[in-house]
Symmetry: C2
């Protein structure tokens, strides 16, 4: 475990970038951040745990939405400052807007166009918690 953690080059805020990719479809689902504790929890469990910069605390992905990410593989890049997680996305929804991927806007004719549908109304996802 320590060998895994020590190889990471944490940024000035003590974070490393973590890209979640759907293991089935290959879609890039989201880019989030991990601190040391989040990576330790992710490595020692089978679910993705991030660090929420906006909330300033650990973020167990799916803690509110139920849209957890089951871990298949973790990779580290050459610089040690970015991680890829291959995951099964529960509910098929990674984004808080209710879409599969956070990357749902595509550059087209000089504007960002929404390129994928809302799979579930966010009010229905978060409203009951």
């Amino acid at each position: 475990m320590n060998e895994l953690i020590d190889a990471v080059h944490w940024n000035a805020d003590g974070l490393v970038a973590a890209i979640a990719q759907d293991v089935e479809t290959g879609r890039v689902l989201m880019l989030a951040w991990m601190n040391r504790e989040a990576l330790e929890l992710t490595l020692s469990g089978d679910q993705a745990v991030y660090y929420s910069r906006s909330r300033g605390r650990l973020w167990r992905k799916g803690e509110q939405s139920g849209h957890t990410q089951h871990l298949h593989e973790i990779r580290l890049d050459c610089d040690g400052d970015a991680i890829v997680l291959l995951v099964t996305q529960r509910g098929g929804i990674a984004c808080h807007t209710g879409r599969q991927s956070c990357f749902y806007r595509r550059a087209e004719d000089g504007a960002w166009r929404v390129a994928e549908p809302v799979r579930r109304d966010p009010a229905a996802i978060y409203g009951t918690h």
Copy 2:
């Protein structure tokens, strides 16, 4: 163009994270950064241009290696602080180590294990420039 640029939430250093993904294989190739100028050049051309934090200047991907990235699609995430580029990776090598992807190390039995081969010796890639 301005509408595209203005939707981006630049970080404190004026940068946005950019994930390059191989359009054919779906492999995540690298995570790099763009400043405003790099994104403008990327959007107005058909090749990925990044900002090198270590060199403190624009980085036309492939300028030394020849391993340019031909652009197919650009996506922006829900927060506006990360971009995905779908690219054709010239030479099939994105990493300066001569591998297809920078994410060539996999967490396995408590260590990062090299999980993909060098396709071309870096000395051969960079030695002649």
